[in-house]
């Protein structure tokens, strides 16, 4: 165990205003070997496991946070978080589980139009970003989640999304058309069964 590296990492991560990845930690610590940093981070994380503060990794970036079981002590100290609307939480989940995903695809799943404001709120929160365009006619913008999203929801990676593996295995993340073809066997496609709905209570 490299005590001095561990101390330095501890100090750097305590002082840091944002989660840090191994690269930037290495940069701060005079280009310490990344393998050693990884080992020390893992030692540090186990040291903190039982304590009131935990060292966690989210999307490749490390930060300290308070232990979840102590939330009740700390919560009242904090101002209430702005609550996301139901539409926003739903759009967020769809982006997270289906990313990258276009607005039309989000709307197809929700069955209602999604106001641009909803995506804006999620982008402003820093949880959703524009991830380019889909190379299909019309080149629609596609959206994906950000590292901050993983931070906020305590996910080490997208693989940690609750139920992701099961949903994927059940084909529930596949588009309806694909699932339909899979069930029916051949692709009789133009059953466009549902009129695309207009605006509704969103």
């Amino acid at each position: 165990m490299n005590v001095s590296l561990e101390r330095a990492l501890e100090a750097a991560l305590f002082a840091a205003e944002e989660p840090m990845n191994v690269d930037s930690l290495s940069g701060i610590l005079g280009d310490a070997p990344k393998e050693e940093i990884r080992a020390s981070l893992s030692d540090l994380a186990s040291h903190y496991e039982e304590r009131g503060v935990h060292l966690v990794q989210r999307g490749g970036r490390w930060h300290f946070e308070t232990a979840p079981d102590l939330a009740h002590l700390l919560r009242r100290e904090r101002e209430q978080q702005r609550k996301l609307s139901r539409a926003a939480t739903e759009v967020l989940a769809i982006v997270a589980y289906h990313e990258p995903v276009s607005r039309a695809e989000i709307e197809a799943i929700r069955g209602v139009q999604t106001s641009g404001g909803t995506l804006d709120v999620l982008m402003e929160a820093g949880w959703v970003r524009i991830a380019g365009r889909r190379e299909v006619p019309g080149r629609p913008t596609i959206y994906a989640t950000t590292p901050e999203f993983l931070d906020h929801f305590g996910l080490s990676s997208r693989k940690d999304l609750p139920g992701l593996a099961e949903l994927r295995a059940a084909g529930l993340l596949d588009p309806v058309d694909e699932a339909f073809d899979a069930v029916i066997g051949d692709g009789d496609d133009n059953a466009g069964f549902m009129a695309e709905t207009d605006d509704s209570a969103d």
Binding site: A71, P162, V176, F193, A195
Partner: protein, 267 residues
């Protein structure tokens, strides 16, 4: 997938489980049936109704669902509640689906009612899956709600300063390179004193007013002007003279080719 999973097997099941809106209204959350803004669109309402069947979404009865939806729409219309157009579009579509589902199979058109019902079911499954995902996602230990970051981090000051390097030789060489490469396209016109035609006309006609004699054109120029102004003034005054002659306000005389040009007031 069997037909049974896709459709309600028969009428008896639906009549047992479901007795129309009246019964559904008496369930614990009867408010559901009055709260029109509670759903994010028809699909959402359908999902909610499907959940009431308390079975896996893969084995819901589409027919029962259709009846419930249509019942809901009827109820809402009876209460004179304003329905968004998309609820009515869905109702019309579901009414069509219902009638198709009740037809004997051989009379059905393409796509078959079963296929349409399957698509609806698949959509509901997908929306349902995301609804559960939302609940599970929001229940995680969230920063600022369940776990907290350091309240007052010192911050890492990494002032990254770049020191740029360059020397005189590189500088001069660069300039020479630019010059060798390009003929400058900048046209810089230096500020230059000129005499406009207007001022020449007024000057020449004013000076013609004070004498009756022939005078050389050069005598009409500003006496102390520098060379460049004089050239401008000469040109302007020449044009002014022609203009005044045209107007009959001056006479011009030149005795030989390239000889001095003389002016006077018309006699």
């Amino acid at each position: 997938m069997s037909d049974g999973a896709l459709l309600l097997p028969s009428d008896d099941d639906s009549s047992d489980d479901w007795n129309g809106v009246g019964v559904a209204t008496q369930t614990d959350d009867s408010a559901l049936y009055l709260e029109l803004d509670g759903w994010a669109g028809p699909l959402d309402l359908l999902l909610d109704l499907a959940r009431r069947q308390k079975v896996d979404l893969r084995s819901i009865s589409i027919l029962a669902l259709v009846d419930q939806y249509l019942g809901y729409i009827d109820q809402a219309e009876a209460l004179k509640l304003e329905l968004a157009a998309d609820y009515l579009v869905m109702a019309a579509w579901l009414a069509y689906l219902k009638s198709a589902l009740l037809l004997p199979k051989e009379e059905q058109e393409e796509p078959s009612a079963e296929e349409l019902a399957l698509r609806l079911q698949l959509r509901l499954q997908r929306l349902g899956a995301m609804r559960e995902a939302v609940a599970r996602l929001m229940a995680r230990d969230r920063i600022g709600r369940d776990v907290f970051l350091r309240g007052a981090p010192e911050g890492l000051e990494i002032a990254r300063r770049t020191r740029w390097r360059c020397d005189q030789f590189a500088l001069i060489e660069a300039y020479g390179r630019v010059k060798a490469r390009t003929t400058p396209a900048v046209h810089l016109v230096r500020e230059r004193p000129v005499m406009t035609l207007e001022s020449a006309i007024s000057r020449v006609s004013a000076m013609l007013g004070v004498t009756l004699e022939w005078r050389r054109l050069e005598d009409f120029l500003p006496p102390h002007a520098d060379l460049r102004l004089r050239r401008s003034a000469l040109a302007s005054s020449f044009v002014a003279a022609l203009e005044l002659a045209r107007l009959g306000k001056a006479e011009i005389d030149q005795e030989e080719v390239f000889g001095p040009l003389r002016l006077r007031r018309p006699q």
